[in-house]
Structure formats: structure tokens, C-alpha cells
């Protein structure tokens, strides 16, 4: 297997190295990729959509249909991970509780779950004491990470950023909470049901904006027609349409990241995690 692999890799590499002879020099102004459609985007994006960040304008407006299906792919990946890993039938397994004052650990086999009390703390089977510094720092840090994520989504028109990046940062903040405390804390704050609903709601917002455009008499995802309901001119309507779409993308990406992490780290039980 190793020798066959090396032969295939060397063959593919040699062919590609041979093909680089015909490439334009690195950074050439007249390379084929930079001559046809991209100058038009660069010249017209600002006056047509009022969005200075050309990447955002092309992503959500000129190529909005492409991005819609990319979002759907992410949604499908989240659903696929959920179906593959999630187990619903919970065996009444072993549970461990720790008395906080005396640090005595109780081991309960099966049976009913004791109600939440301030004296006992439920712990995982592979439990190590959580570090106070890490716990406190992460708890203080999470709101600021979320604020930054909202800024990234909202300011994607004028600076690098947008729905994908902001959504991933929002998801990462909840994942940070799950890692620094434990998975149950994160799921208490942000339940699985809400998360799975949000996964669908994001795609729904995206396609919904497209459908509203149809209902207003224009093509699918043609944001210019939104000027009738938003009471702005056609150029600003495109800018606002891009913003709405970015919100939908952000919600879906956030929910999918959290869902994949929760299912992966708890092997589908959503009970004990990393």
C-alpha cells in the first residue's frame, strides 16, 4: 500500500508540476481569472449595492443562490451528524455526585435522578477538578466573544466578516462554555431543542427573504424589490437584503457547530462531554 501510494502521489505531482508551465506568473495583472467578470464586480459593487466589502456583496447578492445552497449543505451536515450519533434510549447508567463541602463522591446506580441541590454537584465518570481560574475567566469571556460575533455579522458590509465567520464565533463561545464548565451547563443554557430549531430557522430566513422577493414581483433573491416594504431606495434595499441573508447564515452556522460538537463530544448521549 505504501509503495503504491508513493507511486500514485509522485505521478500526480509530476503531472501537476508539468502543468504549471502554462500558468500565468504569480500575481500577474492579466491572468485569466482577473480579466473577465471580477473587474465588473469591483467597479460596480459599490454603486449598485452600497456595500464596500466586495466579498460580502458578491457572496450574498451576485452569487446569493450559490451561498443559499452552501448554507443548506451545512444544515444537512448538522442533521447527518445528529442522525448518525444521537441515541435517544437512555439506559439508567451510573451517575456520580459530589458533596461540595466534604468532597465525598456518591455513586448511584440506575434509579431516579436526585433533584438539583446546591450541596451536591453532578460530575462525570472521568472527572477531574475544574480549575477555578479557567472557569471564571471563560465565564467572563463568553459575553464579550458573543458581542464580537454580533459585531462581525453586523459590520460585515464594511470590514472583513459576515455570517459565516460570526456564526462560527457565536458557536465557539457556547463550545467554550461546554469545555470550561461541563456539557450539562452549556445544554441547560442553550437546549438541544432550541439549537435544532435554530438550525432550520437560519435556512428558513434565507429562503424566506428570497420568497418575499418573488411575492413582491421580482426574481428569487432580487433584493431591489424589498424597497417597497423597507421604505428605502433600491440600492439601500440591496444592502439591507444582504444583511438579512447574513443573519440567516449566521444562525444556521452557529447552531450546526454547537450541534456537531455536542453530539461528537458526548458520543450522542448529550450528557457527559469533554
Amino acid at each position: 500500500m505504501k509503495t503504491a501510494g508513493i507511486i500514485i502521489v509522485l505521478l500526480a505531482g509530476a503531472l501537476l508540476l508539468y502543468a504549471t508551465r502554462d500558468f500565468p506568473p504569480w500575481g500577474a495583472l492579466d491572468s485569466p481569472a482577473s480579466t473577465h467578470v471580477s473587474p465588473r464586480y469591483l467597479q460596480k459593487a459599490m454603486e449598485e449595492t452600497a456595500v464596500p466589502n466586495v466579498v460580502t456583496a458578491v457572496l450574498a447578492d451576485y452569487r446569493g443562490f450559490d451561498t443559499m445552497f452552501e448554507t443548506t449543505v451545512i444544515f444537512c451536515a448538522g442533521i447527518g451528524c445528529f442522525i448518525l450519533l444521537r441515541v435517544f434510549r437512555q439506559r439508567p447508567g451510573d451517575r456520580y455526585y459530589r458533596h461540595i463541602a466534604t468532597e465525598i463522591t456518591l455513586h448511584i446506580k440506575g434509579g431516579r435522578i436526585p433533584k438539583k441541590s446546591s450541596e451536591f454537584e453532578r460530575i462525570d465518570a472521568l472527572w477531574t477538578p475544574y480549575d477555578l481560574i479557567i472557569k471564571t475567566v471563560c465565564r467572563i469571556l463568553v459575553p464579550f466573544i458573543q458581542l464580537f460575533a454580533l459585531y462581525v455579522i453586523a459590520h460585515g458590509h464594511h470590514s472583513p466578516g459576515g455570517g459565516f465567520q460570526g456564526g462560527v464565533i457565536l458557536g465557539a463561545s457556547v463550545i467554550l462554555l461546554a469545555i470550561s464548565h461541563n456539557m450539562r451547563t452549556a445544554i441547560d443554557r442553550f437546549s438541544e431543542k432550541t439549537n435544532n430549531l435554530l438550525m432550520a430557522i437560519g435556512v428558513f430566513i434565507y429562503t424566506g427573504i428570497g420568497t418575499v422577493c418573488i411575492l413582491l414581483g421580482a426574481g428569487f433573491l432580487d433584493y431591489r424589490s424589498l424597497s417597497a416594504v423597507l421604505f428605502v431606495d433600491k440600492i439601500m434595499a440591496r444592502s439591507h437584503g444582504i444583511f438579512g441573508v447574513e443573519i440567516g447564515v449566521g444562525i444556521t452556522v452557529m447552531a450546526v457547530m454547537i450541534s456537531i460538537y455536542n453530539n461528537l463530544a458526548s458520543a450522542g448521549k448529550q450528557d457527559e462531554g469533554l
Binding site: 508513493i6 481569472a33 467578470v37 464586480y41 449543505v73 450546526v256
Partner: protein, 131 residues
């Protein structure tokens, strides 16, 4: 010799991307562990994304955010001053899709481990044949 150095400066980027791609492809074919194969797949993916982004580069070009604001005024945009935004758009979505497909692949790896108690490819095949 004098014409070799401009050639190397013009093309070395592409050669190094191809080496990166070869590393990823080798890991996908020859490595025995499933997680190692996934790492190889991701290296392969990033090398291709790198190639796509690099064909949008322009010498002397700046980031594709049009100069704007109160003092910017209305001026004609010269495309030569900004790098090509189109590969960025396509690859930005590709990165996020790649991480969600990585999640699905890791979910499959966890399922396989739960069933066969190993991540090595040859041991899994041996157990499949023994059945």
C-alpha cells in the same frame, strides 16, 4: 542563470502548493488510521483552496474593500488596485462546508470505533472478513 531566478520567483508558490497536495494525498492513500486519513483530506483541501486564492492575487493589489467614507469622494474604481474577490467568495464557503463535512466524517469514525473498537483500517477489514 539570470532568467532562472525570475522563473522561480514567478512559479515557486505553485510548486509548494503541489508539494502540500502530495502530502495530503499520500496521507489519504497510505495511512492506516482513519483520523490520520481525515487530517490528510483536510490538508489536501486547504492546498486546493490555497491554489484558488492565489490565482486571484495581483502584484500591488490591496484587500477587496473599496475605499469609502466621507473623505473618499466618488472616484472611478481601478480593478488593478484591488485583488480579485471572486476566488475569496468561493473558497470562504468551501472552508465552512469543509468543517461541517469533517464533523460528519468524525461522527462516522466514532461510530466505527464503537462497533469495532479500533480505528486502524486493516484491523477493521480483518474483523469484517472474520464475520
Amino acid at each position: 542563470m539570470s532568467e532562472l531566478i525570475p522563473l522561480i520567483v514567478a512559479k515557486y508558490n505553485y510548486w509548494l502548493y503541489i508539494i502540500l497536495m502530495m502530502i495530503g494525498l499520500y496521507a489519504m492513500i497510505a495511512k492506516n488510521n482513519l483520523v490520520k486519513k481525515l487530517v490528510g483530506m483536510n490538508i489536501f483541501q486547504t492546498s486546493i483552496i490555497l491554489f484558488y486564492v492565489s490565482i486571484g492575487c495581483k502584484k500591488g493589489g490591496t484587500i477587496p474593500i473599496i475605499h469609502h467614507g466621507i473623505h473618499a469622494g466618488r472616484h472611478v474604481v481601478d480593478p488593478a488596485h484591488y485583488v480579485n474577490p471572486l476566488p475569496h467568495v468561493l473558497m470562504l464557503t468551501a472552508i465552512v462546508v469543509s468543517v461541517s463535512t469533517l464533523g460528519v466524517a468524525l461522527a462516522l469514525a466514532v461510530k466505527i470505533y464503537n462497533r469495532y473498537k479500533t480505528l486502524e483500517e486493516d484491523e477493521i477489514l480483518a474483523r469484517l472478513r472474520a464475520k
